[in-house]
């Protein structure tokens, strides 16, 4: 048992009954950008948040208690899985282009997690265009991007432990990570956003926080 495994149970969130039962094999990693993302939202009254990952009860509780926000959960990972299973990956860009029915500029914050690592370029661009449309001016978008090539066929649930720690819980995926996006590729995905913070973590995850130009 590694040192991280020994520490993980002690770093669980005892106050969250809604969250999944902490498993000792789920590693906990630091996050630098989450606090900044929260800071950008806390000044807003009743902010609207879009979460593109699978629903995580602990995260819903966390954001509800810390921000009093309304959170929309749209699990794009399950959409990707469905397209892979049906052999319709070529239709994914068009699907993502019409996936969101919400009005323009409605969200104060968007949580992408590491979704873009699993998309081909056309699908990534279609999704990025939609997220840019949905984000209000000066709104914040948080994305994680892998820095090393991996053929691991698993997604990651990012479970918020606190403002500076995330528990990584892996679960089966229908496809692995695609080509690593360089920083310039990421910036080109979001031409109407600017990067306000970028962190390279020790676990080779890049956390990038964007703000939409006012």
């Amino acid at each position: 048992m590694g040192l991280l495994d020994r520490l993980a149970p002690r770093r669980s969130d005892p106050g969250s009954q809604a969250g999944p039962t902490p498993a000792p094999e789920d590693p906990v990693f630091a996050t630098k950008a989450l606090r900044k993302f929260l800071t950008s939202l806390v000044s807003r009254e009743l902010p609207l948040l879009l979460d593109l990952g699978p629903v995580v009860g602990a995260n819903v509780t966390f954001f509800g208690e810390h921000l009093g926000c309304k959170i929309f959960v749209e699990d794009i990972f399950s959409d990707v899985d469905r397209h892979v299973r049906e052999g319709k990956l070529d239709e994914l860009p068009a699907f993502l282009g019409r996936r969101f029915s919400q009005s323009d500029g409605i969200f104060d914050g968007v949580l992408c997690w590491d979704l873009f690592d699993y998309l081909d370029r056309p699908a990534a661009q279609a999704l990025a265009n939609q997220l840019t449309r949905l984000l209000r001016p000066d709104g914040a978008l948080l994305g994680f991007f892998g820095n090393t090539q991996s053929h691991d066929m698993r997604y990651t649930k990012f479970i918020i432990v606190d403002e500076v720690n995330l528990r990584y819980r892996r679960y089966p995926a229908a496809r692995g990570r695609q080509v690593i996006l360089l920083n310039r590729d990421i910036i080109r995905l979001f031409p109407m956003l600017r990067v306000t913070d970028s962190f390279l973590l020790q676990n080779n995850t890049r956390e990038i926080l964007f703000r939409k130009l006012a």
């Binding site: 309304k70 009005s103 323009d104």
Partner: protein, 180 residues
């Protein structure tokens, strides 16, 4: 052991039992009333074979194992959607526990609890929300902070249409900051 099913009683003959505006019951069992020994609290159970279409109002806790379409109002009581329950309705209750499937918006004054294998497709408004690891949820969660004014439902959606933002030139400052 601690609970004993009493004789099946029709809804109309049970004071305080949920009232159905237009029930179309598929089966003769109707609503089941369970009295717990040593407890004054009644638990009403809508069985697996029951289908109700319309408005369901009540002033006691209710467990649904059948199908309900329409509106459910248990303002001061707990609604439990059992593992076999299939709900297509707007739900208003004090608390809602979901083990089955709910399609529709859920509003509570206390808590929504989506258990393992429970499914909710709709918007939740509740001060407390618990979603288990194996639960399915699609929609929004509005957990208003204590003291916050009640927020009117916003017209957050518009007719689905493909709309893309034309790509524009990258922001030079942004390019410089990445990787810093």
């Amino acid at each position: 052991m601690w609970k004993r099913d009493e004789a099946v009683r029709p809804a109309s003959g049970q004071p305080g039992a949920p009232q159905t505006a237009a029930p179309s019951t598929a089966g003769s069992s109707g609503l089941r009333h369970e009295a717990s020994q040593g407890m004054e609290k009644d638990i009403v159970n809508i069985g697996k074979s029951i289908v109700i279409k319309g408005e369901l109002n009540g002033s006691e806790d209710l467990t649904i194992e059948g199908q309900v379409e329409g509106t459910i109002q248990l303002r001061d009581h707990v609604l439990t959607i059992g593992p076999n329950g299939r709900i297509k309705a707007q739900v208003f209750a004090k608390s809602v526990v979901v083990l089955g499937e709910v399609t529709g918006n859920v509003t509570t004054t206390d808590k929504v609890d989506i258990r393992d294998n429970g499914s909710v497709d709709g918007d939740i408004v509740s001060p407390r929300v618990a979603i288990a690891e194996g639960a399915h949820f699609r929609g929004s969660v509005d957990m208003q902070r204590k003291g916050a004014p009640a927020q009117q439902a916003q017209p957050a959606t518009k007719p689905a249409q493909a709309q893309t933002v034309p790509p524009q030139a990258a922001v030079p400052q942004a390019a410089q900051r990445v990787g810093a």
